[in-house]
């Protein structure tokens, strides 16, 4: 057990503490900015994984109509449906579990960051003594930066904030979920999606009430960076649709267009699917065209 702790400290806690303290001295002795800078670096390092995840989701979106068709065609043979689904994923080069990669990578970062924040911002003098053994002697800047100012925008980064940060974490995570939500192939998956859309933000919002504000800052910054990356890779429509900056349904053209390349049958539950909206993306060439036509008409109407 001691060996595991030593490895954990050497590989995760040590670099994280020294990195955060170094960023603190670079960012004008501001620990809030240090955490935001740390988040951007972490997300930058994870960028290839995140982009891969986004592309997978985009591909999954394109497969959505065909998945629906499989679900319908083999509605009475679940095993066959499952086989066909896997076959489709394989043919398209999509790994549905690949989307979970960045989330699993984040777990040790969350735990490490939680421990690092508590060590960097100790409550008692003896804990400050404990911090000294984590700082690299060959990095004089970090030793000179202690003690760390624990306030940022009026928040104490070492203690939980019960009101503002849980809301910000919840809202940013909801937006992130909205941006990265997997396209639903059937109503069951759609209800799972809907549950995840609300469960994750509520859960993390609740966590925030008992974790240090510094960790909440990481979650917020990480969500914002994630939203930006996702927006550039797969488009901003899920969010833009929310604020009604574009006509609903436009965001689904991409899916509908991709789906139009495949001969599909019309599905009865399309109207309930988040990714297809009211107008488009029925997995049908004609309906897809219809969706585009209606969009154009909508534009003309505005003129």
């Amino acid at each position: 057990m001691e060996t595991i702790a030593a490895i954990w400290n050497a590989l995760i806690i040590g670099p994280m503490i020294n990195g955060l303290v170094l960023l603190y001295s670079i960012f004008f002795d501001n620990f809030g900015l240090s955490i935001i800078g740390f988040t951007i670096i972490v997300r930058g390092v994870m960028m290839p994984l995140t982009v891969k995840q986004s592309k997978q989701m985009k591909s999954m979106g394109a497969l959505s109509p065909r998945l629906k068709e499989i679900q319908q065609r083999y509605s009475k043979d679940r095993q066959r449906a499952s086989q066909e689904t896997m076959k489709l994923y394989k043919t398209a080069g999509v790994n549905p579990l690949g989307c979970l990669g960045p989330m699993f990578v984040q777990f040790p970062i969350w735990i490490g960051l939680y421990q690092s924040i508590l060590r960097i911002l100790p409550a008692q003098p003896e804990s400050l003594v404990g911090l000294s053994k984590h700082l690299y002697p060959w990095l004089p800047m970090v030793n000179g930066a202690i003690p760390i100012d624990r306030t940022f925008l009026g928040l104490d980064l070492a203690v939980p904030n019960p009101v503002i940060l849980p809301i910000l974490v919840g809202v940013s995570m909801w937006a992130m979920q909205k941006m990265t939500m997997m396209p639903a192939a059937d109503s069951r998956q759609e209800s799972t999606n809907r549950m995840m859309l609300w469960m994750m933000p509520l859960m993390f919002g609740f966590f925030t009430t008992s974790f240090p504000s510094g960790l909440a800052m990481y979650w917020i910054a990480s969500n914002v960076v994630g939203i930006v990356i996702q927006g550039f890779v797969t488009g901003w429509d899920p969010l833009l649709n929310l604020v009604n900056l574009v006509k609903p349904g436009r965001g689904q053209q991409q899916v509908a267009t991709a789906a139009a390349a495949e001969p599909e049958k019309e599905t009865p539950d399309d109207g309930r699917d988040r990714d297809e909206g009211k107008d488009g993306g029925r997995g049908d060439r004609n309906r897809a065209k219809g969706a585009r036509r209606r969009t154009r008409r909508g534009r003309n109407r505005r003129r």
Binding site: P125, V129, K133, P140, N143, G144, P147
Partner: protein, 340 residues
């Protein structure tokens, strides 16, 4: 602090204990008024002929009679980590708000009353105990500065910027101020002007606690686990003694030896001349307190909530005199089978 065969020592649980220095028996116990997890006593107690002055992590300064009765208590701006210092009718106490406060002891009969004469503010927490010499107070702050303050009116005489926080109390010897900082540098400053005289930058970690001096040598303990013996006038390294853990509390000189507490759980006894180890007392629990010595007996607290008395002979032999656990009322009998 030992006075008249009574050991006064504070605990992490916020109790000030008066123990018989010879037997380890409890004479009395005073529990600070703050919440249980906020009332640790980190600071050494200041003792005068008729009162004790205690600073608590609950942010209060307490005045107790030598029998343990509360005479006065007052709130400060922040938690107290460095100990109070009594100079004449003034009590100096620093706190975590960054203030150094000088209290006038106005009345002692029928009731004690302390009124602040002046307050000197620094830019961060002050966890070092004030040192006083020639009408000047010297203090280190976590704002990276060492300050010299006029004792009579609290005005700043000079400040010296170090490269890190300062929790160690300055040591004033023969017109010079000696203090180590978190940048791993030990500084010698001119007491009158604050000008740097020499610096020693051989440590790999912070200086947390104060150094001690003997004749022409300065002994500076560091959190890198080493005790550095430096020439007082030049800062030249004479020898280094290695322990196996950070040195959080200050050492004491016993006969011609130095006893060094270490967080490795051992009390190291070394020769003053060259730092060679004479004996090691393995307590088995981290020792983080500054040592107190009286008549060849060294007193200290360990992490297992024990207070121990170790007798050291002039030949460097040591034996456990008594051990008192703060969660028991009676000291354990002597001659137990311990490696100390």
């Amino acid at each position: 602090m030992v006075q008249d065969e009574t050991l006064y020592i504070g605990t992490a649980e916020g109790e000030l204990l008066a123990l018989d220095a010879v037997s380890g028996e409890t004479l009395w116990k005073f529990v600070l008024l703050g919440e249980e997890d906020e009332r640790a006593i980190y600071a050494p107690t200041a003792v005068t002929e008729d009162a004790l002055f205690v600073g608590g992590y609950d942010g209060r300064l307490y005045v107790l009679s030598l029998e343990g009765d509360l005479l006065w208590q007052g709130s400060l701006g922040g938690e107290v980590v460095g100990g109070p210092t009594v100079v004449g009718d003034l009590v100096l106490v620093s706190d975590s708000s960054g203030a150094l406060t000088a209290f006038d002891i106005e009345e002692r009969v029928p009731e004690w009353l302390l009124l602040s004469r002046w307050i000197f503010s620094t830019g961060d927490k002050v966890w070092s105990s004030p040192a006083v010499a020639e009408g000047v107070v010297y203090i280190g702050s976590l704002d990276h500065n060492v300050y010299a303050v006029n004792l009579s009116n609290g005005s700043e005489v000079w400040r010296f910027p170090t490269g890190g926080g300062v929790t160690a109390s300055p040591l004033v010897v023969k017109g010079r101020v000696y203090v180590g900082a978190f940048d791993g540098v030990f500084y010698a400053l001119d007491a009158a002007t604050g000008a740097e005289v020499w610096r020693f930058d051989g440590a790999d970690s912070w200086y947390w606690t104060h150094a001690i001096a003997d004749n022409d040598t300065l002994y500076a303990p560091s959190l890198d686990g080493n005790l550095y013996a430096l020439e007082l006038t030049t800062g030249r390294l004479k020898w280094t003694m290695e322990t196996e853990g950070p040195i959080v509390g200050s050492p004491v000189i016993v006969f011609d030896m130095i006893a060094v507490p270490s967080a490795d759980g051992k009390l190291w006894i070394a020769n003053l001349r060259d730092g060679t180890s004479v004996n090691v007392c393995n307590v088995g629990e981290e020792i983080r307190t500054t040592l107190v010595e009286r008549d060849g007996v060294v007193y200290f607290g360990a992490r297992d909530r024990s207070i121990r008395a170790i007798s050291i002979t002039s030949a460097g032999q040591r034996s456990e005199k008594w051990v008192y656990f703060t969660d028991r009322d009676d000291p354990l009998p002597m001659n137990r089978a311990v490696d100390c």
